[in-house]
Symmetry: C2
Subunit: 359 residues, 2 copies
DNA sequence: TGCGCTTTCGTGTACGCACACACAAATATA
DNA sequence: TATATTTGTGTGTGCGTACACGAAAGCGCA
């Protein structure tokens, strides 16, 4: 392997001069620079990343900002674990990853956590832009400091985020339509959503759009219906509403839940009604997986949240260490989970159970 | 971050002594060793992998041995690309990956390529054990040199391979049964296989077993039938056989091809017959993907070949650098591909188009 | 008891390679 | 001539690795 020393010897200059050319640090005459560049190219030289990482000693800090995971909403654990695994993998590239989290129902906690994050002086930021107004503030602070940032999972427009890593929600919804239709040629199908998602979470509305479009574009007679609830909890009120709707509309063949809370719907519906319905929902949370395994849910579409976390860290690492420009829209696979394949799909997800590193 | 120097100072010994304890290199009195170990544990010390990699300078060499990919059999390109990407990612851990390939129809080339491989003095080997007899010879050479080896994609018993990385073929076949049945409640379904696969490739027979078991275990009336051909090419003879079989058995609703050659079957069947059949096959090769996109194939099950290559290199890296014992059976996800999600599933596969590094 | 020998135990340090700063030399400007 | 500016050099630093070597301790034997 050719080293800087070799290049320097060949160009009859010192190692330091070669280093300056490699890093465009200036202070080298054009003539010398051209000579060195020629030699670099001829040897197809690239810096030894190991020695480079050692010399730089954690020059780069990636900060992540995402919702806290807890018993009520375990979804965010997977991206966190993905980040943790990636952090371990890129340690040898001189990258330090700091994790910050916030209460996903509380804009204030979002902004406060960000302020703590800023104090860690990150080189780049991976964030879940959960609240539009606060995101604007955050982004303007980041931009004033020239810190690149990447959006994870939630894709909102009008920002200069260097990339988005997540799922194509529209197509995911479209696929949900195709899957639920394949077994039940007749329909109709019911979409159950929470009202507060309508404005807040545009992933949910894109999924619904894709779902409906499947039936429209393929000229399928079966209609879709929508039931909007105030919130998706398993309160008596919710149960009541769902069950009475199903009694009033006994022709319904399947239910589509465009959020990660299909397990709550399952919990609400009476067993004998459930048996005659095909359910399809999103996200491989433990509760949802349990529903797959006990046959109450036929399909889950996974956003591959672990991979979202893992990939976003890797993308930023490649950007920082090799100046690779990330794909501005990095859509992860739309993973179709059924009872039989679900066990193999979470191979990575629980490798890193250590809960350290949270701020 | 705490360093060996710090530990040495605290224990009032030299750095070299600490290093000897860390690597169990002997030559340290019990008393001194105990003292150092206590301090190491108290500080939860772990060596800086970057400095370690630099000092060792490619101490580890991983060699891979897999079939050559070519126009006729493009399948093996993906594992190769996965290996290439992993090789790039683990460069910073002081791992060098050397790739070797062989003609998958020629046992002699398999063994010859292995002999070249051996000359590269690998620390560990990733191999596709394509021929049983030669594999025995290879393995005994590896074991005599204490070189650990890992099987990729093909799982054969009776060896001391430290791990297998690939797919659970039985379950994949079972899932194929479920999927083809979900749209066509009646059946029957035809399995088309090449005769030479029966003995050679036990992945194919496991897939068939799983496929049949789906119908048996769920007490489904629809029967499966098998058509055995001498080889799966698009010769006139093959076309003839397939089409005449389908004419003789017009009740057939779908075809299951348990190998990666479903695109050939598609090519053999007449268009108007094809329209009324549902096809399901294996592997996301470009030809097969084209069949998904033009609606001639309904489902493909992917073995995630890219990930097989990538993961196997990573597993060995973790073993070599961190002594992490790999899972002896690492089953990758059983990926269900349909027309709509296939475009997102090959995100990684063609990142690394550089064809260098082949031996 | 003393001499020389072998083990055992421990030390010191060069090396791997890139990085970046302090400094020097050469050249240009006032 | 004195002062900036450009261009180039030399070297300490990051941290672990492993070898050469030195010191000490143990042993046998006269």
């Amino acid at each position: 392997m050719i080293t800087i020393k070799d290049i320097a010897k060949e160009a009859q200059v010192s190692e330091g001069t070669v280093d300056r050319v490699i890093h465009n640090r200036g202070g080298v005459s054009k003539k010398t620079e051209a000579k060195i560049r020629t030699i670099l190219e001829r040897h197809n030289f690239s810096v030894n990343p190991i020695a480079s990482a050692l010399a730089m000693k954690n020059k780069y800090v990636i900060a992540t900002l995402m919702p806290t995971h807890n018993a009520d909403d375990i979804f965010w654990k997977s991206p966190y674990l993905g980040v943790l695994k990636a952090a371990n993998d890129v340690k040898t590239s001189g990258i330090l990853v700091n994790h910050f989290s916030f209460n996903q129902c509380d804009p204030h906690s979002y902004f406060e956590s960000f302020k703590t994050l800023l104090k860690s002086k990150p080189t780049a930021v991976i964030m879940v832009p959960n609240f539009s107004k606060e995101t604007k503030q955050i982004v303007s602070l980041l931009e004033s400091k020239n810190i690149p940032y990447l959006f994870l999972n939630i894709d909102i427009d009008g920002f200069n985020n260097m990339a988005f890593v997540g799922q194509d929600s529209y197509t995911a919804g479209y696929i949900a339509g195709k899957l639920i239709h394949s077994k039940n040629q007749t329909g109709p199908f019911l979409i159950i959503q929470a009202r507060h998602n309508i404005t807040k979470n545009n992933a949910v509305s894109n999924r619904i759009k894709g779902f409906n479009d499947y039936f429209l574009k393929n000229n399928i007679a079966s209609k879709t219906q929508t039931l909007k609830l105030d919130s998706l909890d398993n309160s008596l009120e919710t149960k009541e509403k769902i069950n009475s709707y199903l009694i009033d509309n006994p022709e319904i063949k399947g239910i589509f839940v465009p959020s990660s809370r299909i397990y709550i719907i399952v919990d609400c519906i009476e067993a004998k009604t459930l048996k005659n319905l095909e359910l399809i929902g999103f996200d491989n949370t433990p509760q949802n997986i349990a529903c797959l395994l006990n046959d109450s849910v036929a399909f889950l579409i996974s956003q591959k949240p672990f991979d979202q976390g893992y990939e976003s860290v890797r993308m930023l690492t490649d950007y920082l260490t090799q100046n690779k420009i990330p794909n501005p829209k990095t859509f992860l696979p739309i993973d179709i989970l059924i009872k039989e394949n679900v066990k193999y799909n979470e191979r990575n997800a629980f490798v890193f159970e250590k809960e350290d590193g949270i701020n």
